[in-house]
C-alpha cells in the first residue's frame, strides 16, 4: 500500500481552502492514459457547477505513440473561473503528470508555486530514460524548488482499490488510474463526483465490472485526498456571480458547434443536408457527428478522396440540397479545382477548413491560421469566394449558419475557416432560442417563361437556383468560359472579362449584408488590435488587461474576411497603431496593407500552439512604450 506523500513536512491543514477567481489545470500523460476523458469529466463537472470554463486539448498525431516518451504525450488544459474568461489560460497552477515525460514537457509552463501531482509509480528507470532524465527528478530538490510536489503512487493505489475485481486483468485495472487522478482532482477542487459517476454508468454500463472499477478508483482518489495531509490547501473556484446572460448552457467544442450549426441551417432552410467528406484530422469529428443525425435528413457520404468529396457536394448542390464539405489544409488544397467549378457554376455550397499546422502534412493535431491566403487566392484564374471565420468554439454554430446563408443568398461557394484549437477546445455555450434564428429562404425557380441559367438578381447578382426535376427549365452548366445570362459556352474576350467582373461584384456585394463591426474599447486611440479566427480569446484577454493598466487600446475581431466589412477602413484610420496577431507569417496584415492606407504591425507565431495572453500583452506594451 502507499507510503504517505513526500511533502509531509509541509502539511498544514487539508481543510484550508484557497479561494481563487480562476485556476488553470493541466492533465498530461501517455496518449493511452485517458487524459482527454479525464479533462472532459473535470470540465463538465465544473461547468455544471457554474464556473466559466475554457479548455485546450493538446495531443499527438499518433494514436499510441511509444509509451512514456515526450512524443506520446496527450494533454488537456482547462481554465476554471468565477468570471468571464476567453482562453484556456497561459500558465497552469496545477499539473497532473502521469509519467516523467509529462513532468519534463510541462514543468516549465507551470506557475511558480504551482501544485505538481505526479504518478510516482511511473518514475521507473526506463520511463526516466525515455523522458530524458539521467536521475529521478523527484529526488532532486532543486529541480522542483518552488513547486508544491505531491508524489502519489497512483498505479499501486488504483490496483489496491480494485484488488478483488477478478474479471479484470492488471492491465485493465491500470487503465483506471486516470479515474483515481480525477478523484484526487475532484477532492482538491472540492467538486462532486456524481456527474462522472453517471457518465461511467452510461459509457460502460454493459460491462458492470468496468463501471465498478472506475467508480472505485474515482472514489479512492477522492478518499486519498481527504485522508492525506500532504496538500497545503484545497482550491476553490466559486460559481460565477458576474453578469452572465441567463439561460441554459452546455459545453461545446468548435467541431460539435459546426455540426449543430449545419443541421440547424438545413432545418431552417427546410432542406436536405448533404455532407460529403474524406476523413482528415482535425475535421473528421464533423463527419462523425453528422453521420449520427440522419433523422434530420442529413445524408453523409464518406468519399474515396478529397476531390470526390467536393465533387459530390457540387452535385448535391446542383440537385438542390444544402451541401457542405469540410477538411483541413492538405485536403482543401485538393479541393481547389472543384471550388473553382463551383465558383463558375455559381452554386451554393460550404467548405469548412479546420486549419492545422502546415505546410504539407505539417502538424495534423496542432493549430494554425496559415490557410487564409490560400483559400482567398489559391485557385487558378480570378476566383473570388466569400470567406468567413469563427472566433470561438461556440461561435462555430452561428458561423456555420451564416456560411449557409451567404451561400444560398448569393449563389456561391463559401469558405468557413475554423482551426484545430477551436475544433477541439470547448467553452460554455448559451443555447440559442431556435425560434429567433431567421429562416433561410430558398426559392427554386419553376417558371420556364423567360428563364435563362445566368440571369441575375438585381440586388445580389445571384443567378436562379433551378434543380433537376423541374419541367421546362432543363439547362447545362459547366466550367468553360461562358456568356452571361444564357450561360452558353463562349470564348469571346469581352464575355470572359464581363463574367469575371460580374462574379467579383457578386461576391463584393456580400458586404451589403454585413452588420457593423464591433469595437471593444475606445473608438479611437493609440492602438487597435485586429484579429480573426481562433485568436479571439487571447486578444480579448490581452486587450482587457492593457485597458485595465490604463492603455488606450481597442480590439476588433473580423468574422468576414472576404469581402471585408465596409466600415473596417474607417475604423483602422482612427488609431495611431494597428497590431494584427496571427498564427501565420502575416497574412491578414498583408491583406489590410494592400487594401487600406495603413501600416500594420504583425505579431506572428507558427508553433502549432495558440497565443498566450502574455505574448500579446507584451507586444502591446512594446508598441506603446
Amino acid at each position: 500500500m502507499a507510503e504517505p506523500p513526500a511533502s509531509e513536512s509541509s502539511a498544514v491543514n487539508a481543510e484550508m481552502v484557497r479561494l481563487m477567481d480562476s485556476v488553470v489545470v493541466r492533465f498530461s500523460g501517455d496518449s493511452g492514459d485517458g487524459m482527454q476523458l479525464t479533462g472532459d469529466q473535470f470540465t463538465n463537472t465544473s461547468a455544471v457547477l457554474g464556473n466559466d470554463i475554457s479548455t485546450f486539448p493538446d495531443f499527438p498525431a499518433e494514436i499510441r505513440a511509444p509509451a512514456g516518451t515526450l512524443a506520446g504525450l496527450s494533454g488537456f488544459q482547462v481554465n476554471l473561473a468565477a468570471s468571464d474568461i476567453y482562453t484556456a489560460g497561459d500558465a497552469p497552477l496545477v499539473l497532473v503528470a502521469m509519467n516523467p515525460a509529462a513532468l519534463a514537457a510541462n514543468l516549465a509552463d507551470i506557475e511558480p508555486g504551482g501544485v505538481v501531482i505526479v504518478n510516482e509509480d511511473a518514475f521507473t528507470r526506463n520511463n526516466l530514460r525515455k523522458a530524458g532524465y539521467d536521475a529521478n527528478p523527484l529526488d532532486d530538490d532543486s529541480y522542483l524548488q518552488g513547486y508544491e510536489l505531491h508524489r502519489v503512487p497512483l498505479t499501486t493505489m488504483t490496483r489496491a482499490a480494485l484488488d478483488d475485481l477478478d474479471e479484470l486483468s492488471n492491465q485493465q485495472k491500470d487503465l483506471c488510474k486516470n479515474a483515481f487522478a480525477l478523484g484526487l482532482a475532484f477532492w482538491l477542487f472540492d467538486r462532486p463526483m456524481h456527474t462522472t459517476l453517471a457518465f461511467y454508468q452510461e459509457k460502460f454500463g454493459k460491462r458492470p465490472q468496468v463501471v465498478e472499477a472506475n467508480t472505485r478508483a474515482l472514489k479512492a482518489g477522492y478518499a486519498f485526498g481527504e485522508t492525506t495531509e500532504g496538500f497545503q490547501s484545497r482550491l476553490s473556484v466559486p460559481s460565477r456571480t458576474d453578469d452572465v446572460p441567463p439561460g441554459t448552457y452546455r459545453r461545446i467544442t468548435g467541431n460539435e458547434a459546426v455540426v449543430l450549426g449545419l443541421v440547424t441551417a438545413a432545418q431552417k432552410a427546410n432542406k436536405t443536408l448533404f455532407y460529403g467528406s474524406y476523413p482528415i484530422t482535425p475535421a473528421s469529428p464533423i463527419l462523425e457527428g453528422l453521420a449520427a443525425l440522419k433523422r434530420f435528413d442529413v445524408r453523409t457520404f464518406q468519399a474515396e478522396d478529397e476531390i470526390s468529396a467536393i465533387g459530390s457536394v457540387i452535385g448535391a448542390s446542383f440537385a438542390g440540397a444544402i451541401s457542405v464539405t469540410a477538411s483541413s489544409g492538405p485536403g482543401v488544397s485538393l479541393k481547389s479545382e472543384g471550388m473553382n467549378l463551383a465558383i463558375v457554376m455559381e452554386l451554393p455550397l460550404v467548405v469548412v477548413n479546420v486549419q492545422r499546422g502546415g505546410p504539407s502534412t505539417g502538424l495534423p493535431t496542432k493549430t494554425e491560421q496559415a490557410d487564409l491566403l490560400s483559400v482567398l487566392y489559391g485557385r487558378n484564374g480570378e476566383s473570388p469566394i466569400p470567406v468567413i471565420a469563427a472566433a470561438t468554439a461556440a461561435e462555430c454554430f452561428e458561423m456555420a449558419i451564416e456560411a449557409c446563408r451567404i451561400a444560398v443568398r448569393h449563389m456561391t461557394p463559401v469558405f468557413l475557416l475554423t482551426d484545430g484549437y477551436l475544433a477541439n477546445s470547448s467553452e460554455p455555450w448559451l443555447l440559442p432560442d431556435l425560434d429567433l434564428i431567421e429562416p433561410i429562404h430558398i426559392e427554386h425557380r419553376t417558371d420556364p417563361v423567360g428563364y435563362q441559367p445566368y440571369m441575375r438578381d438585381e440586388a445580389t447578382l445571384a443567378r436562379p437556383w433551378v434543380v433537376p426535376g423541374t419541367p421546362g427549365l432543363e439547362h447545362r452548366v459547366g466550367g468553360l468560359g461562358k456568356q452571361d445570362v444564357t450561360g452558353n459556352v463562349s470564348y469571346d474576350p469581352q464575355d470572359n472579362e464581363h463574367m469575371i467582373k460580374t462574379r467579383a461584384e457578386k461576391v463584393a456585394r456580400v458586404a451589403d449584408f454585413l452588420p457593423p463591426l464591433d469595437v471593444f474599447g475606445p473608438d479611437q486611440g493609440d492602438l487597435l488590435v485586429v484579429g480573426w479566427g481562433g485568436t479571439y480569446g487571447a486578444i480579448r484577454s490581452a486587450v482587457e488587461q492593457a485597458q485595465s493598466e490604463g492603455r488606450s487600446v481597442a480590439s476588433c475581431h473580423l468574422r468576414h474576411l472576404n469581402p471585408l466589412p465596409k466600415d473596417l477602413g474607417n475604423i483602422l484610420s482612427r488609431y495611431r497603431h494597428v497590431l494584427v496577431p496571427e498564427l501565420n507569417m502575416g497574412q491578414l496584415s498583408m491583406l489590410l496593407q494592400a487594401r487600406y492606407p495603413v501600416r500594420v504591425i504583425g505579431l506572428n507565431k507558427v508553433q502549432g500552439q495558440p497565443f498566450r495572453i502574455r505574448e500579446i500583452v507584451a507586444k502591446i506594451n512594446d508598441i506603446l512604450t
Binding site: 441567463p246 441554459t248 448552457y249 433523422r295 445524408r299 465533387g311 448535391a316 440537385a319 440540397a321 431556435l434
Partner: protein, 340 residues
C-alpha cells in the same frame, strides 16, 4: 424532390432531346453516332427530359451534355462520377448518365470510376474508348496499346494498357457491357439495357477518333474481318461467332479457347451467363483480346445488388421515421446547466 418516379412520356421523339447548341465534334467523329442513338433511345424509353441529368468530365466525349436537352453538368477532368453521386444521393429519382472517355475515366478519374462502381451508385456510365487523347491533340491514353506511336510516345508506348471491361468487373460493377459507336442496333440495345439497370451500369463504347487514332477499331468495323473478331454474347446462348457462325468459345478448365463449330454443333461451347453472381466467368470473358480471341460485345455481366444511393436514402428515411428529429432536444443533448 419527388417521391415517385415519373411515368414514361409516350410522345417523346429524338428531337425533344436535341439541345439548341451547335455540335462541335470533328466531322466523322464517332461521337455523333453515339449522341444520335442516345437521343433516340431516351425518347423511346420515355424518361421525362427534366428527370434526366448528363454529367461529364473533360475531353471530347465530355461535351456530350451540352448537346442533350436535359439537365447537364460539364464538370472537371475525371470527376463526373463524384458529381453524379452527389446528385443521386440528393434526388434518387433522377436518371443520371455519366459520359467519359478513356483518359477522363481511366486515367485522371480512375479512382472515382472504380469507387462509383464498387458502391453501385445508380448511374449509367458511358466510357467512349478511342485509345487516344483527342482534345489535347493526340497523346497516348491508358487504353493505348504498347508500341503505339503518338506525340508523347515517339518511340512507341511502353505503358501497359487497361482493359476497361476487366477494370469494371474487378471494381465490382453490377452491369458491364461493350458496344461500338457505328454498330447502331447493338448500341441502342445496350443503352436500353443500361438504362433499365438499377445500380452502376458501365458501358464501354468503342469510338473512333478520326483525327488522332482512326485505325484503332478497324478490326471491329471492317466488314471483311469484324465477324471473326467479335463474339456477341447473349444470355443463355452459346458463344458462337465468325462470318458463318462457324467458330465458338469453349472453356477448358479456366481458359477459354476458340474451336470450330462443326455442323452447328454447339454442345461443348460456353453458354453465356452474365447473371452469375460470381464474376470469374465475366472476368474471363473480358480477358479475351484481339487478335487471339474475338472481342466480347454485349452485356458481360448483369447482376442485382442494392444501389448505394438507394441504401443511403433508405437509411435516412428509416432514421427520419423512427428517430425523434427534435432540433431543440439535439442542442440540449449534453450536460446542461441553467443560469438564472
Amino acid at each position: 424532390m419527388t417521391d415517385t418516379i415519373a411515368e414514361p412520356v409516350a410522345s417523346l421523339t429524338r428531337k425533344d432531346f436535341v439541345s439548341d447548341q451547335e455540335v462541335r465534334w470533328c466531322p466523322g467523329c464517332g461521337d455523333y453516332a453515339i449522341l444520335a442513338q442516345m437521343q433516340k433511345v431516351l425518347a423511346e424509353i420515355g424518361v421525362p427530359r427534366e428527370q434526366t441529368v448528363f454529367v461529364s468530365g473533360i475531353g471530347c466525349s465530355s461535351r456530350f451534355p451540352y448537346y442533350m436537352d436535359t439537365y447537364g453538368v460539364h464538370s472537371i477532368h475525371g470527376r463526373a462520377p463524384t458529381l453524379a453521386t452527389g446528385i443521386k444521393a440528393v434526388n434518387p429519382d433522377l436518371t443520371v448518365w455519366v459520359v467519359t472517355g478513356d483518359g477522363d475515366g481511366l486515367s485522371i478519374g480512375g479512382n472515382h470510376l472504380i469507387h462509383c462502381m464498387r458502391r453501385n451508385v445508380d448511374v449509367k456510365i458511358l466510357l467512349f474508348n478511342n485509345r487516344v487523347y483527342g482534345l489535347t491533340k493526340g497523346q497516348y491514353s491508358p487504353t493505348s496499346l504498347q508500341g503505339h506511336r503518338t506525340k508523347s510516345t515517339p518511340m512507341g508506348s511502353i505503358d501497359y494498357p487497361f482493359n476497361p471491361m476487366s477494370v469494371a468487373i474487378g471494381a465490382e460493377a453490377t452491369f458491364v457491357a461493350r458496344t461500338q459507336d457505328t454498330n447502331t442496333k447493338h448500341l441502342q440495345e445496350i443503352l436500353r439495357r443500361a438504362a433499365a439497370h438499377r445500380g452502376t451500369a458501365f458501358v464501354e463504347i468503342y469510338q473512333n477518333c478520326i483525327v488522332y487514332n482512326p485505325t484503332a477499331w478497324d478490326h471491329t468495323t471492317d466488314s471483311s474481318v469484324r465477324d471473326d473478331n467479335i463474339v456477341y454474347v447473349e444470355e443463355g446462348k452459346p458463344l458462337v461467332f465468325g462470318r458463318d457462325n462457324d467458330k465458338g468459345i469453349r472453356i477448358n478448365g479456366m481458359i477459354p479457347e476458340v474451336v470450330d463449330v462443326a455442323n452447328g454443333a454447339t454442345d461443348e461451347l460456353a453458354i453465356h451467363q452474365g447473371s452469375l453472381n460470381n464474376s470469374s466467368y465475366a472476368y474471363m470473358l473480358s480477358r479475351m483480346q484481339h487478335p487471339e480471341f474475338p472481342l466480347p460485345f454485349g452485356v458481360l455481366r448483369d447482376v442485382s445488388r442494392p444501389a448505394y444511393t438507394d441504401l443511403l436514402v433508405d437509411q435516412v428515411k428509416d432514421a427520419m421515421n423512427s428517430g425523434d428529429a427534435d432540433l431543440n432536444a439535439l442542442l440540449h443533448s449534453s450536460d446542461t446547466w441553467v443560469v438564472e
